[in-house]
Point group: C2
Chain length 229, copies 2
DNA sequence: AGCAGAGAGATTGTATATTATTTGAGATAC
DNA sequence: GTATCTCAAATAATATACAATCTCTCTGCT
């Protein structure tokens, strides 16, 4: 019964939601792109109401901004918002990792190491998108077993918000990639050794803090010489 | 009320949103209450679409649950969801307090102490709702100066979700109230003394953890003797 | 060059039809 | 006689089409 309700009959608003979300995530709708209700409705072959509802939902998730009587556009995080999101994600994700730790199996760790190895490989021919994918896959192992659904939800939200603007910023420090991979291994080791929960949490958080610092440095550098990117 | 500031022209969906939200917060719409689109629309004198949008927004905030072709009802957190929310809130709020600490002024601390004193007073003639109000007011001082808006938003979300079900659960441990007030003072003192940021964070988090423990104990007790409450 | 007004385009809201779910009555089987 | 299954009617959500309101832009006049 619940199996069949999600199958063929998918509510049009949900359909619209998935459709738009897909485009945002794939980068077809870049940050700042204006989402016109009528156009989307016509393209999807539905009315404007479901589209509107879908957009409202995306707004609540922070993927879309909405202005009264003006319309919606794909969220565009400026540098400061990006930093804030990253910091918040670090806090939430660190806690989720800490809570997950007792439930992470040896198999999980092995899988994570495999992903990490792929990340190292991918450094040869660096492709930002692929690296980001792998990165998310790795981190998933760290927090997916978190027994607190509420917290886990916050983590997912944070990741999604980061994804919104990744095209414009994720390649900001190629030099950071290598260090990132090493930190991954460090965190894995802590979990494997059954380290103190606070230590695990802070290691996971620091992993983001360092990215944040690298970003700030890059940002300052970019300001100094805006020409050569 | 902040009611008439941006209004004059207040979008009907926003109007509906505020109206429903008000009722939920005031307890007029108790957890589990069924929100029928048509009825609300008629009572507000608007069409069903704005109401629907308002409810979708409340759903995104976690205050309302929505089921396809069935309808909406005020969210009802069971014990486990309540615990999870509380734990997540503790984590997020603890971090927010930690980040706020450097910006908290002597005046802020004085104000917080005043609120705390009122909480002690209110213990004489204990009124759960008043106590909850004061509690939120106190905690606001601790995290409102948080420079990270994203994180602050998560804190607010958490508090609102707690509010949804407070009527049914907040009076669960009157004995906890006194300890809570003492912990408040402890946190204030740490901030005042410029304690280590991690120490502040963990003190703030522990404040919630203890409430959580008390709740678990109460829960177990209730299971043992469900008759006498 | 700068301001005013008209018009196009997009959002917001209403009325209405459609679709899905639930509920209750009646009939049949045990 | 009770229980269960089926079918129909009511109820409520979902989607469409239409109307009205607002915003932004482009053009023309001073």
């Amino acid at each position: 019964m619940t199996a069949t309700d999600t199958n063929g009959t998918l509510s049009k608003s949900q359909q619209a939601y998935s459709w738009i979300r897909e485009r945002i995530n794939s980068g077809a709708f870049v940050p700042g792109f204006r989402l016109v209700l009528g156009s989307i409705a016509k393209e999807l072959g539905v009315s404007v109401v479901p589209v509107r509802e879908a957009i409202r939902r995306l707004e609540a998730e922070g993927l879309v901004t909405f202005e009264r009587n003006v319309g919606a556009q794909v969220a565009m995080l400026d540098d400061s918002a990006y930093s804030a999101t990253m910091q918040a994600l670090g806090i939430v994700e660190g806690a989720a990792t800490m809570l997950s730790a007792p439930f992470i199996t040896a198999a999980d760790i092995a899988a994570a190491r495999l992903v990490n190895a792929q990340m190292i490989e991918s450094l040869e021919h660096f492709e930002p998108r692929r690296f980001t994918e792998l990165n998310r896959e790795f981190h998933s192992v760290l927090f997916e077993r978190c027994p607190n659904d509420q917290l886990l939800d916050l983590v997912h939200r944070g990741w999604n918000q980061m994804n919104v603007l990744r095209d414009s910023t994720f390649s900001f420090v190629p030099g950071r990639a290598r260090a990132s991979v090493d930190e991954h291994e460090h965190i894995l080791k802590l979990i494997e050794d059954g380290a103190d929960s606070l230590e695990i949490e802070m290691a996971a958080r620091a992993h983001r803090t360092r990215t944040l610092d690298a970003f700030a440095a890059y940002q300052a550098d970019r300001k100094r010489s805006p020409a050569q990117r």
